[in-house]
Symmetry: C2
Subunit: 92 residues, 2 copies
DNA sequence: CTGTGACTGCAAGTCCGTA
DNA sequence: ATACGGACTTGCAGTCACA
């Protein structure tokens, strides 16, 4: 999977997770809203400095924008099925 | 630490580790040698597509180009001090 | 082998609309 | 709220000579 696609996918994923609109993220990151839209559609080839601003606005490490979807099982987990301690034992 | 600095630092680090010259890496990645030099000096602001070619030429995942130097203890480890099993116990 | 300044073409990135 | 286009400015991609 191309880094550009990874980037687009992760930015959108994390943005949604944060409950932010494209408009708001763009403003926070100091980039154009229309450009952010194009970035998420993979029609843009952004520079590192732009990545920097976006990752800061999202509150994540730059490398987090390149995580592979295939390894999302361990990343997307909002709550990792917290292995809640069994309060009631079946036969206890 | 700025992503641009992280990038520069990691590209150089991995390139040296591979025993490659700037010239050779540049040729493999299909970019200009002078440009690669500038990139390692942090005087360039490359795009994702350039990162893509470099990471492929280095044989690493794009996100590996953003690892933090402070966490290098766990990344630079050529051999991770393999916790060799104690063959002789002190009081055993 | 690498650092650096200068240069040009074209893409990055902005701002404006429309749907 | 988002997708998408057009026109526009800024800055990067890519190259060279020279140290």
């Amino acid at each position: 999977m191309k880094p550009r696609a990874l980037l687009a996918w992760n930015v959108r994923r994390i943005r949604i997770k944060r409950g932010m609109s494209q408009e708001r993220l763009a403003r926070t990151a100091g980039i154009d809203r229309s450009y952010l839209a194009g970035l998420e559609r993979q029609s843009k080839n952004p520079t590192i400095d732009v990545l920097d601003r976006i990752s800061e606005a999202l509150g994540v490490h730059p490398s987090d924008l390149f995580v592979d979807p295939s390894s999302c099982a361990s990343i997307l987990k909002i709550s990792p099925r917290p292995k809640r301690p069994r309060l009631l034992r079946k036969n206890g």
